[in-house]
Symmetry: C4
């Protein structure tokens, strides 16, 4: 077996000797890096901690860049990998931070890097690779994708229309709170998801009447997709576990009719 084959098997977690060691090492890097990002937000820790996580960040980014390079090298179809979903995640999981590192010489300083850092969170998506139990969710998503997309678009239109209407009613009474259609959309989103922070709400009679009508009519449009996904998932569960037992005749029909002859 060539080194190239060894590397490919190791990166896929199927190496005979290394087994899943490489896979778990990469997964650990992702989680440690995510925890590091959280600790960086804390104030009042000893400076050594921040320095440690800055160093760790350099290490993690280097490791991911190395992994990406190796995957490209050992793959039979490098271009296909580079354009696949996981290939793109792998690339943007280190590229922005690496560029920031090379430009400023530090993983922590500078304002521009702060925004780039958010891309690092995409690394967590790599965990999806390891979650076999998430299969049913993906299957359920495929079942209800169409409805959810229709409802998503409908929700956006509803948000926009509700924002325009409440703006007409409230702008005069509360020019600060409902300063533009953007504030009104923020209000509509916070209200229709029933979060209701209380930072912005209607005070005019017409605005309140419209809000009540809106809540009763439009709440469903926001809440229904959730019900659809849940219902599809429980259906998939049923199909696997219980349906075969209660419908034996259909089981028989699935057998080829020529078998009995």
């Amino acid at each position: 077996m060539t080194l190239r084959n060894h590397l490919r098997l190791a990166l896929d977690g199927q190496h005979p000797r290394l087994g899943r060691t490489v896979e778990f090492a990469l997964l650990t890097l992702i989680i440690v890096s995510a925890i590091g990002m959280g600790i960086e937000t804390l104030n009042g820790l000893p400076p050594g901690i921040y320095a440690f996580f800055a160093g760790l960040e350099v290490f993690v980014v280097t490791a991911f860049a190395l992994e990406y390079g190796l995957r490209l090298t050992v793959s039979d179809q490098p271009l296909r990998y580079a354009r696949s979903f996981y290939g793109i995640i792998d690339l943007i999981s280190f590229l922005p931070t690496l560029v920031g590192l090379l430009l400023t010489g530090s993983a922590l300083d500078g304002r521009a890097i702060r925004t780039l850092r958010l891309f690092r969170l995409l690394r967590l998506l790599k965990i999806v690779r390891y979650a076999n139990a998430a299969d049913r969710l993906r299957e359920a998503w495929r079942l209800v994708r169409d409805e959810v997309i229709v409802f998503g678009l409908a929700a956006l239109i509803v948000l926009y229309v509700c924002a325009l209407i409440i703006y007409q009613f409230e702008n005069e009474a509360q020019p600060e709170a409902f300063s533009s259609v953007f504030s009104a959309m923020w209000w509509a989103a916070v209200t229709l998801t029933t979060v209701g922070y209380g930072d912005i709400y209607p005070i005019t009679a017409m605005g309140r009447i419209f809000t009540v009508v809106m809540l009763f009519v439009a709440l469903g449009i926001i809440a229904i997709p959730t019900g659809l996904v849940a219902s599809a998932m429980s259906e998939l569960r049923k199909r696997k576990a219980g349906e075969d037992r209660t419908h034996p005749p259909s089981e028989i029909n699935r057998e080829p009719p020529t078998r009995a002859s």
Copy 2:
């Protein structure tokens, strides 16, 4: 083919040469007009922008008036179109703004126009014409219409009764917040939809006890219709996709019986 037939096919998006061009042009007008209404709410933009959207508004209204006139002219049954659901939407999507334009000579000035502008949003309903994927929602709505209406009426009665009760408990302690049954209904709607802005809430012991009881008993009355629609939609999806496979006999029945002979 006469010009009348050409026009009718073009407006229906079935013209051999123009194809769906006219249809998409009208759809674009609707969306541009809706975006324009949003931009008008922003402050601090250069005056040219406002003037551009005022002009655009005149153009859109004229285009819709023209479309309405053409549809009336080319239709074989003009009266039937004028009284249909889409005919009425088409009419009120331009009439109020057109009247405002003719009376004041501008699409943007004046207080009366501001209210009329809300009718322009009805144009967005025209998009329903183009959303084939929304069929299943309409079908699901037909399935659960009765229950939703019963629950809608029940919700209104519950709101009113809860408002009357909380008014008795809270009016004395908070005469400003719970000033009348209308404020109390606003509170009941915001509470039962679980939005809970926090602008108005009970402070007396009896009011709080009643609120907790109300939430536990009445929350279902508001939340159930959503579950009903979601359940009906997932049932329709199942019927189309999965039921055929598990119940092969019904598949056979759909084939013409003469085909086998």
Copy 3:
């Protein structure tokens, strides 16, 4: 036909000539009386309005007392009616207000009446008599009663335990807001129903951690009963409309077996 029979048929809405007139008259009285209670809460109306609704109140109470007396008189089993669900509703829909009227001589004055007024709302329960469409809800309720009661008790225990825990965490930091287990239960109810007014919330680290854990664990206990009722109702709908078509064998079984012979 005797006068007694005439009256009985009229009260049941089955009189050949009066038809449903009496029934609709009684229903109108209920609704007018409920609307009157709302108008009484408004301030700044001309005094004549208040006087009118005070008079109306006397009239409504008298009418309901008369109706109750007549129903008792014409019934073949007066005691059975008096102890039935509707008999009790009929009685308490007028008795408290009547007693208040006789004691103080007015339907509107006095503090004692204010509390008695709440009983008047029970009249609205009479509408249940006229809502044929609510049958499916009653049937669904019978299906899920056991689960809902178990969940209701569980919800009460959860509320109490959560209140005791948050009290230990927050009482020291916020002795005003979390002054006793009652305030803490108010917080728990407002939080677990996701209303979240924002009048009272944890500020200590432990209190916040507990709140997050509580929300994730206990939210289901509050939300599940709603899902159960919705699911039972959609099942009943399916059973009536769709199940017969997709399971023809069970249809055959319902026919008498002797029919084929």
Copy 4:
């Protein structure tokens, strides 16, 4: 019958003469103790009340310690009981308070006891033993455990990632409110459960846009497990009550095939 057998039967509620007396006595102790914990939080009661509940606390703890000792003594396999779920609950339901009592000589004084007191609430878990009606919930839980655990982990990751993102957007504008990733996680939990107290919310444009996107994408991840449990429970109910009637063939299959021969 030996005394040991008498005791064992009495503790299990199966004693021929004592019947369920001991069982109900223990259940009463649990409830009285829980009520006592609530009353201790009230201020302004006569000192005698507090003394009474302090004494009751000593009595309850002694009774539970006695019960635990007896169960250990009469059991054929004391170690198996001690390591069972109920054995551990029985132990921690009195041990912390007993240790506190022995160390400080009082059930009510001292700060350390205050925290230990929370363990007393675990006694309420003993009620689970007596709730036969909760069986279906346990069965439903077994059906959907896998999905709920996957969603629980997903929810934790989502909370953490959302907290990191909103921190980057809001920390500069609101250094007090979004002081660290912990405050941001508190915000994320309160927002994604739609509680929305309003004590902490985004004010920057980017933070608000992210919040709206987050709510639409991530709300489902929090809400779906509830739907799954509800759906599983209604399925179990159906299986018991209705499925047999509508699918008679499967009924037949359950009978032993040798019966007809």
